[in-house]
Amino acid sequence: MSAREDAVDAAVMPPDLLAGRELALEARGLSLDYSERRALDAVNLQVPRRRVTALIGPSGCGKSSLLRCFNRLNDEIAGCRVSGEVRVLGLDAYAETTALPELRRRVGMVFQKPNPFPQSVADNVAFGLRLAGLRSRLELDDRVEAALRAAGLWEEVRDRLDDSALRLSAGQQQRLVIARALAVEPEVLLMDEPASMLDPISTLRFEELVVALRERYSVLLVTHNMQQAARVADYTAFLQAGRLLEFDATDRIFTNPRLRGTEDYITGRMREDRG
């Protein structure tokens, strides 16, 4: 048995589910403690390349904590301790030799609340490129356009590139943030409740974009909206109380999950023995 198969718990995930697939992200025996509380407990998770994987589970189950291990955003939190292994595109994310800026360039992140900078639309998208030292006006323009197109926003903002990004709608702002992330050509996109502030139409547009992104990017999406996970994700992981309970193809999770705990959660059941 290969090391990779070894890292999969058959009770959590069918052993051959990701056979032959390259992995974008991997957690092995990952535990995370905040000063008082254990947020993740020996999680083994595999996120395949160029697919959308959704993380679902009740509030406080550790979804966001897990997501933030992959770009080491948890490092910023005082008292936060991580143990186990986190691999990003084959590299050990927590190794001393791993350069954090490079890790974060390759792993883009989109947050719940759209957070454009108080600058023009174009400058928002060019921000990371300028930070990386790109100066050519022509090249910047090209890269900005390409990123906005990839984020499905170009047609809506092509005549407003110099307007303040804060004047865009919430849905547009969220896609602008994605364009900003895409501009630096990441390979993985982490999304933490990215559509929860959007109206239904913007949400659908956003979901269309996520599905299109899987052609080139690996997406790990935290969502409270189970229909959203069902609509966009190829794979779905169910977390509860810091543990990964079940990982499977989304079709399977939403029609016939293997575990009663998953079933109870996605169908909105409350079990008496769990209180």
Partner: protein, 240 residues
Amino acid sequence: MDRLHLGQHISQQFNSELAALTKQVLAMGGLVEAQLATALEALAARDLRQVAHVVAREDEVNAAELEIDARCTQILARRQPAASDLRLVLAVVRMVANLERIGDEAERIARIAEKLGNAELPEHYAFKLAQMGSLVRDQLRGTLDTFARMDETRALERLRRDREVDVLYKELTRLLVDLMQRESERVPAALEMLWGARALERIGDRCKNICEQVIYLVRGKDVRHTGLSRSAAPLPETKQ
């Protein structure tokens, strides 16, 4: 009883919607069962009053199908059910379509009583048909019972018992074909009887379809077209 834990949703409203749905299916099942019983009695006794009774109640069966379908549509649109809830709604839609067709077959059997009128056939033919009728009635009752109990093991047993219906059907067909070859004046009556046997055989098949849906909704395993009825294989593993 509550194998699917239908009453454990956080939404009490959803609990009662699903409870009402299963109750309606069972009520429709009871109605169809009564239709079949009356039709078989009408056939045995050539009782035209009972024939009329079956024909009149056929509308109720159709109305029940429409009502249950509408309820399922509402649940799909408003609740977006997942997992066992989704399977329940899908299974119910398929089951009521089968129940409605069983209703049609019952009506067909009743009308055969009318067509046969006073035509007589040797007693053992009627006996065989009655034997098949009571077997099919038992299959229908048992099938509905597996749904009421959400019992996939019994559903599988029922499904496999359809073979007994098929055996009787083949026997009766052979007897009737022989009779028609020997005594041409009996052809019209024998043909009617053959249609009756065929209607019963089809009801058996419909019961089988319903049993498959019970297995699907409890286990999440679609066993249609898998040859499960002809094999002795056990059901797939149940969830933990």
